[in-house]
């Protein structure tokens, strides 16, 4: 590049972790919107206004109205909160159980380790949507069923990541010296190994959020997730599809927040991975 372009763009160094910065910015923005949505929305998200169906965006309705006259912007705010809380619960369940299982088997090893990891491999090889569909067809649709289903589905990937992190740390010298000094199993795992696996886990959690949002949106789109009248971005998208010709803003307003949410978390996950996690495979 010529000298003057170098001068202007010198702050865009490759060494800056743009993924992390970008991800943090986008996530921060979305979290702000979610928080606002918890306390205040311009209109009641469930208020039906028969006179004003499928209106285009206007100062009164920032993103227009849907087929029942409800304000889309308010619904988007509320459903961002719903999607985020579902993703949060899912990741909590998956990470808590997964870290527990992965940590224990990674530390102790043995035949149980082999069996569990084989099982995790098999489950991970499946398209998750198929498993999710089977679960839901067994226990029925609904917000909490989605959380349970996705939580269980996410356990294998967290378990694998934790297990390889723990197994890797187990043979390090500092662990051996701690053991020589008399530290027992639990202390070793909690105080010594776990803090060292946090970068990897943080990246895995961000990517887990990413997948959770996508999965929840897909399931709501298919109608087996959050049930009406609760707002959910996936569901709004599926309703918007019928009215695509009359009011394309409906579909775009429902879809773009999903993209932003996923983008934010995936950038965050990549940024964290670059910062110090080992390979968090999807």
């Amino acid at each position: 590049m010529s000298a003057w372009t170098e001068r202007i763009f010198c702050f865009m160094k490759k060494s800056n972790n743009y993924n992390l910065i970008g991800g943090a910015v986008i996530c921060g923005l979305m979290l702000l919107l979610i928080l606002i949505g918890q306390f205040y929305t311009p209109h009641d998200p469930n208020a039906i206004d028969g006179m004003n169906k499928l209106a285009a965006p206007s100062p009164a309705h920032l993103l227009g109205t849907d087929n029942l006259g409800r304000d889309i912007f308010s619904r988007v705010l509320v459903s961002l909160g719903t999607t985020f809380s579902i993703a949060l619960c899912t990741v909590c369940i998956g990470a808590a159980a997964g870290v527990l299982i992965g940590g224990l088997t990674g530390y102790f090893g043995g035949p149980l380790d082999e069996i569990l990891m084989r099982a995790c491999d098999i489950v991970a090889a499946f398209p998750s949507i198929l498993l999710a569909l089977v679960f839901i067809s067994l226990i029925g649709p609904g917000k909490y069923n989605v959380i349970i289903t996705l939580g269980i589905l996410f356990i294998p990937s967290f378990a694998r990541i934790t297990r390889s992190a723990f197994a890797g740390c187990k043979n390090q010298d500092y662990i051996k010296s701690a053991r020589l000094m008399g530290a027992g199993g639990a202390r070793l795992m909690l105080v010594h190994i776990l803090p060292n696996t946090i970068p990897t886990l943080a990246s895995a959690i961000a990517i887990g959020f990413n997948n959770a949002v996508l999965a929840e949106a897909s399931m709501s789109y298919l109608g087996i997730g959050v049930q009406p009248p609760d707002a959910s971005l996936g569901r709004m998208l599926s309703e918007a599809q019928s009215y695509l010709f009359k009011n394309p803003w409906y579909a775009l307003s429902a879809g773009i927040p999903i993209v932003l949410l996923i983008l934010g978390f995936s950038l965050l996950g990549d940024g964290l991975q670059r910062r110090g996690g080992s390979d968090a495979s999807n």
């Binding site: 695509l244 394309p248 993209v259």
Partner: protein
């Protein structure tokens, strides 16, 4: 050879486990098939007779073996709602889903390899950085949203196809292909963004190797090194990645079929779950699971064949 047999046994064991799990899963569903068929007003004697006839009173293991035997010989049961055999219902739809999946797969290869290679030529250049950014954004787009977006743009605005009206192959092959093109693109584009990211990473790894340095020192240009030496090695992990995505394509296909109203297996699965038509759901789930596991098996074999250095 030993590797092949080891993987083969693993495959067979996995298939067995899947069939057992799928069978058991649908046995614990509350609800009695006999009651569903005869209605709640049937007399207990008739219910008992039907149960006897349907073989519901036999022990679980026997029922599983009977089901397995029937499944392997092609009899996948009869639908609860329609009185057709599951096999008939699947028969028309499998080719459609297969066509969609194959089209998506080829599109992924067609898009990702040129983009990946061309953007890796000059790693610090504008094209490369721009590709990285665009890539990240595209990877975050859910396939069904992309599908709706395409419906809006290509269906309504450009009128390239009529949204919602599926054209069968028998009616018009050309239109069939055009109609499937957009769902295939909706599946292919996010996946090829992933493939491009993978490929770029792989190429940049290869570019740091010693043999590349040697090639440069012997006077090869950057382009020549890229195409003649690096590409072949960099494509190895990408090939296995692509085979794995075939399974993902089938899964994404389920949702995309819903978006574009394509009469494929995915749509049948979804409607059957809604109507609680369990024989169909069971058959499709097992079928899809079998396909996925088979594809993974082929991936493993391919991996070993393509790169003899790998020791599994």
């Amino acid at each position: 050879m030993k590797y092949f047999f080891k993987k083969l046994t693993s495959l067979i064991i996995t298939l067995f486990l899947i069939s057992i799990l799928a069978f058991l899963a649908f046995q614990i569903i509350p609800g009695d098939p006999a009651v569903s068929k005869l209605g709640t007003e049937a007399t207990p004697e008739r219910l008992e007779a039907l149960r006897e006839e349907m073989g519901l009173n036999r022990p679980v293991v026997v029922r599983y073996l009977i089901w397995l035997q029937e499944f392997l010989t092609g009899d996948m049961g009869t639908s609860y709602n329609y009185d057709l055999s599951v096999r008939e219902m699947l028969g028309n739809r499998v080719p459609v889903t297969a066509a969609l999946s194959l089209l998506s797969f080829f599109l992924i290869i067609l898009i990702s390899i040129p983009v990946g290679v061309l953007s890796s030529k000059n790693v610090d250049g504008l094209a490369s950085r721009l590709t990285a950014v665009v890539n990240q954004v595209i990877m975050a787009v859910p396939p069904f949203f992309l599908g709706i977006f395409f419906t809006l743009i290509f269906g309504f605005i450009f009128q390239l196809f009529t949204p919602g009206i599926f054209v069968a192959y028998q009616e018009s092959p050309g239109q069939f292909f055009v109609y499937l093109l957009f769902p295939a693109l909706a599946i292919a584009i996010p996946k090829s963004a992933m493939a491009v990211k993978f490929l770029r990473g792989s190429i940049s790894d290869e570019l740091n190797r010693d043999y590349v340095r040697t090639a440069y020192s012997r006077g090869n240009t950057r382009t020549a090194v890229l195409y003649r030496h690096v590409l072949r090695n960099a494509l190895i992990p990408v090939v296995t990645f692509l085979t794995m995505t075939l399974a993902d394509i089938v899964a994404s296909g389920i949702i995309i079929e819903q978006v574009f109203s394509i009469p494929g297996i995915g749509r049948l699965l979804l409607s059957s779950i809604g109507t609680r038509d369990y024989p169909i759901v069971q058959a499709i789930v097992v079928l899809l699971a079998f396909i996925v596991v088979l594809l993974n098996f082929i991936t493993d074999l391919l991996y070993k064949y393509v790169d003899p250095r790998i020791k599994i």
